[in-house]
Symmetry: C2
Subunit: 378 residues, 2 copies
Amino acid sequence: MRRYFFFLFVLMAFTMSSQGYFAPTVNSPEIAKNGAVTFKIKAAKADTVRLIIDSRVDTLMKHTGNETWSITLRDLEPDLYMYYFIVDGTKMLDPENAQVLRDVKTVMNTFVLDPQGDCPMAVHDVPHGEVRAVWYDSPTLNATRRMMLYLPPGYELSRQRYPVLYLLHGTGGDETVWLEQGHAAQVLDNLIASGKAEPMIVVMPNGHTDTPSAPGMGPNNNEQPTFAHKQWMEGTFEQSFNDIMNWVDKNYRTRAAKRYRAIAGLSMGGYHSLYISANQPDDFNYVGLFSPAISRMDQGKCKIYDDLEGKLIAQFKQRPRLYWLGIGKDDFLYKDNAEFRRMLDKNRLHYTYHESGAGHEWANWRDYLVIFVQQIFK
Amino acid sequence: MRRYFFFLFVLMAFTMSSQGYFAPTVNSPEIAKNGAVTFKIKAAKADTVRLIIDSRVDTLMKHTGNETWSITLRDLEPDLYMYYFIVDGTKMLDPENAQVLRDVKTVMNTFVLDPQGDCPMAVHDVPHGEVRAVWYDSPTLNATRRMMLYLPPGYELSRQRYPVLYLLHGTGGDETVWLEQGHAAQVLDNLIASGKAEPMIVVMPNGHTDTPSAPGMGPNNNEQPTFAHKQWMEGTFEQSFNDIMNWVDKNYRTRAAKRYRAIAGLSMGGYHSLYISANQPDDFNYVGLFSPAISRMDQGKCKIYDDLEGKLIAQFKQRPRLYWLGIGKDDFLYKDNAEFRRMLDKNRLHYTYHESGAGHEWANWRDYLVIFVQQIFK
């Protein structure tokens, strides 16, 4: 009887996982101890198969017999990766890898490469914080909105108060993306465990005021992710930011003072961090601009954006402990950021500058987070 | 300058979301107000295109010109759906729908059909509870393990104590699946808002003791989901269940008494619910067995499974308020469940029986959750 039952389950498993499309006879991705990664896909009738790894790899795969296409990459850095295949011009997920992430509207496979066991984006056997999905009221926007929080290990039973990092996403993201593509919970778990970062609360709101949440989580159930938002960098998010801070300070054991508050964001989130901190010079001791979308100075459109230079001068008189700016050499925003740095330099406003390789991409933003969180609340 | 910047963003969006594989010129799925759903896919060179909707639909699509294949379905019930295309024998996701869910190892697109605005699985404009991902220590298993929790709206600031539903997954699932395929948070939000369910905490642990978490969330970062677990229905989960209850009662404002405790699960989780409640007759006032995997009576393997009949007789002497059993007519476990019911009947043990259409599948389990949570803690 037991064997019969087990057989039924295996049969079901086989039926469900192979519905007309894959035979689980290859292992992909296969990660060797030395960090070499082998990708394989069965594609009997294919003429060409390409492997795309985010913006880092675009390469043809080799037909290695037995209907299988394969390639081994030996020089990938420890990090989180996102990839897919293109089989005769058609995008395909790796049928052997059920771990997927979404980048804006593109669903891809993902894996973590951690040959030395020290990649801060990997899950390690350390105390884990909590991740929460919550809804808060925004009186300014007259809306109920979703955000994600990371609480450090031990939060629930401690009576301690914690500093807060507000961590903002880019135009293509939502409240989930710093946890998904950013692996922010893993980064914080690891750096707190090793003593490199202070225990902190991380607040990840949704920066698009025309939608209350990530697609699928709000009342417009079948909403699709998009770059084309009805409201976009026009001031409403910045103007409603106090609703978020008030809600967090009311609901969580925060240290509700400038000394214990940081704000950082990538791309549009860097733009948000820039203007929110410049308009609220008494609120943030640490500011992180990750490849910030700085060039779009909407003088006149919203008072939030007026007189940035004057506001920055006033902000720096309050002596923020850290004003951190990071960008990749190939970023399409590099030139605008250089111009912004010249303005800071001209006014002798002291900031920390980090220039990395590559462009406007997650490999940089994960690194920037790792660097930034080690420098705050110390 | 502003226009130039916007153009760059749009260019980036286009590049990122269309990398060599789709032109966003069709809308799919397109849901009409009357509930008709139209699926479309561009596939210029295809000979046949099929649409698969979980176990409910398997149909050929029609070539409707302009390289597009299409089909409209008019008789789908309000529910959550999971689907994919098969293009000339190869499984493909819908490139126009970035909302995906995983069923064991199969990634599929998803949408919610809610033409009347009353489907309990849809997000509505009602107060939302919190969802938390937490890690707890299991002294019995000598492990730190992940679980998900749903907290009712208002939990964080109230001083109230709440009843607890322990909600368990099946062999192919993990701690996330009741939230993902089950839409448990949406179901609870909606039924609490309408007064049909009591505010309650829902605890969703991981029922596989050979892994601490869902794939990607544990130290074995690149683990794949599987049906073939090293430890499987051999007693360790049931024996360590008190670790979960103790942790929840310690960390949350629960009503820690039988009267305010329910346990329910699907398939393997039904089996777990059956044996945990039978072995702990003083702990659960409400038991829900959803298509339970009942037949595998491992007499002798673990004392948890010994003398089920005697344990049930003892359990029912404690008069659980509700012992609920649901199964579909086409479920491969139907016969074993009928045998189990005969045993209950023979002993005059009173249970509530719900027989639905269809088989061993999520459409049933979501319905069973909706029915079950309306009957507990009243």
